[in-house]
Amino acid sequence: MSLLERAVFKNRWLPYVLVLPQVVITLVFFFWPAFQSLRLSLLRVSPFGDRVFFVGLRNFQQLFSSVEYRISVVNTIVFTLGVTFVTLIVSLVAALLANQKIRGRPLYRTLLLVPYGIAPPVAGVVWLFLFHPAYGIVQYLFSFFTDWELNWYVDGAVAMALVILTSAWTHLGYDIAFFLAGLQLIPRELLEAASVDGATPFQRLLHVTLPLLSPVIFFLVVMNMIYALFDTFGVIHAITRGGPGTATETLVYKAYKDGFLAMNMGSSSAQSVVLMVLAIIFTWLQFRFIERRVSY
């Protein structure tokens, strides 16, 4: 990894002073708690913390042998892939449309970016009502076409679709902004040259635009996954709280639920440790991305 290629200033202590504030905050509020989680994951603690037993790896054993954990792994995969690709595809289409030379383009762009400003828990409230089994408009429209009762209080698949759509919706603006930024960087001459060569718009998209956008796409895939995995707590908490049953219980939500509702800190910490391992894998992925970004 070449982090050093443009170091131009020579100073022995200044760089340390510069990174100090961030490093201190990181150590105190990230690494120390993370280390605590590691320690807690080997313990069994009563809710009020008055009884503590060392149980070795038993929390992990129980975790990996439990059906519920396996369910939440599957949920997480479905949810993460769903959010990542729904967001990516919808925002790519929207950004391509908004990148055309048409009148009123600034207005369209503005409207497309709006949902990005909406906090997931607030978006959750709005979508909860849209899909409300008794009052919601979506259920109402569905009742014309099918007998299927669109009730996410009862139907796990509907609940999953709902949290995926809501999470994707609030994240659209982020992806659209990056796509628009990326599209701006594509030299017009390239597209025009392709046109002259007789490429159809679709061919231009496939052979010119998408390859040139690929670093942005890759970056967004990673960022969307991180978002879906770690930042959608507010959506799930505002709408389904993991239910019905365990239908929308993701790894993060389960860690929260077991730690907070069930007050089983040992198991919850073990789950946090698993998530941290996942986090490290993602960090590694991002480093890989950085390399690609640099070569581009």
């Binding site: 048409i102 990056f178 507010g234």
Partner: protein
């Protein structure tokens, strides 16, 4: 569909040229209409939930829960917004959210500027370690480390304070990451020239690097302000008094309790509209820089 270039005037004959010009004009018009239709469809799909929330926020309770649903605004907006404002103590909530989101965004930018500057422009022994440390935090979100972090805040006596609400959140990997990318696109000659002029690193930082990254900082501000505004679990846990609540938490109190409250979704939506307005204004106000500053150098 043929491309424009192919249809461009190629005929020697004037009449043919005129015909083809008309074809081009018609083609352009058709493309424009198609583009507008596509755009309108996309905007409609994406903005519908927001529109619906707005519409509901102007209706009476009976209208809001009526079947079939009403898709047009009604006249009860004022009373709904007043109710939501009073019931949720919206003024206080919005103020807290503004302070928290503003302070975390500003803090994150300052810290990220310093560390990104160090990482890009200096060579020091622990650079690799520092870099990795900062980046891994991206994936240690609040829900998975909340209990131990809560303990730290409590030991520091920061529960229920703006300090507690902001400081633990101001180490931002996103900020450092994006700024590092920006800095690397600033031409190396600038720094070399500064050195030749005898300017120290901080002088270079202040008078060359910062002015050159204004757009990027604006973009970053949007991203960080939004993420600060969106923070939910952290404020929920560490604030115990209603005066310290932020709006995304406070708004949940408007949700009707099943069994005991009326289904006053009109008031809920009025609250939601107020809660989403400030960050949306930030996005819109800074949108030009937001899109430009996200990737690559300034133009």
């Amino acid at each position: 569909m043929k491309s424009l270039a192919e249809l461009a005037p190629a005929g020697r004959d004037k009449a043919a040229a005129r015909v083809s010009r008309r074809v081009v004009a018609r083609k352009i018009a058709r493309d424009q209409i198609a583009a507008h239709l596509g755009m309108i469809a996309a905007v409609a799909v994406i903005s519908f939930p927001l529109y619906y929330a707005f519409v509901i926020s102007t209706q009476s309770m009976d209208q809001a829960i009526s079947r079939p649903p009403l898709l047009l605004p009604s006249v009860h907006a004022v009373s709904n917004y007043v109710q939501a404002w009073v019931r949720a103590d919206m003024g206080r909530l919005l103020l807290n959210s503004l302070v928290v989101a503003g302070a975390t965004a500003a803090g994150k930018i300052v810290l990220s500027l310093l560390s990104a500057f160090a990482i890009v422009y200096f060579d020091f022994r622990l650079k690799g370690l520092v870099f990795w440390m900062i980046f891994v935090t991206l994936m240690l979100p609040v829900p998975i480390r909340i209990v131990p972090t809560y303990q730290v805040i409590s030991d520091l006596g920061w529960l229920n304070t703006y300090t507690g609400l902001t400081v633990p959140l101001i180490a931002s990997a996103t900020g450092t990451f994006l700024l590092r990318q920006f800095f690397r696109t600033v031409p190396a000659e600038l720094a070399e020239a500064a050195q030749l002029d005898g300017a120290g690193p901080m002088r270079f930082f202040w008078s060359i690097l910062l002015p050159n990254s204004v757009t990027n900082l604006a973009a970053l501000f949007v991203v960080l302000f939004i993420s600060g505004w969106n923070e939910y679990l952290w404020p929920l846990m560490i604030t115990t008094s209603a005066e310290m609540r932020v709006v995304v938490v406070g708004i949940q109190n408007l949700l009707p309790n099943t069994g005991t409250d009326l289904p006053e979704w009109n008031v809920v939506m009025a609250g939601a509209m107020m809660a989403l307005l400030p960050p949306v204004l930030v996005v819109l106000g800074l949108q030009r820089w937001f899109v430009q500053g996200l990737l690559g150098p300034e133009k």
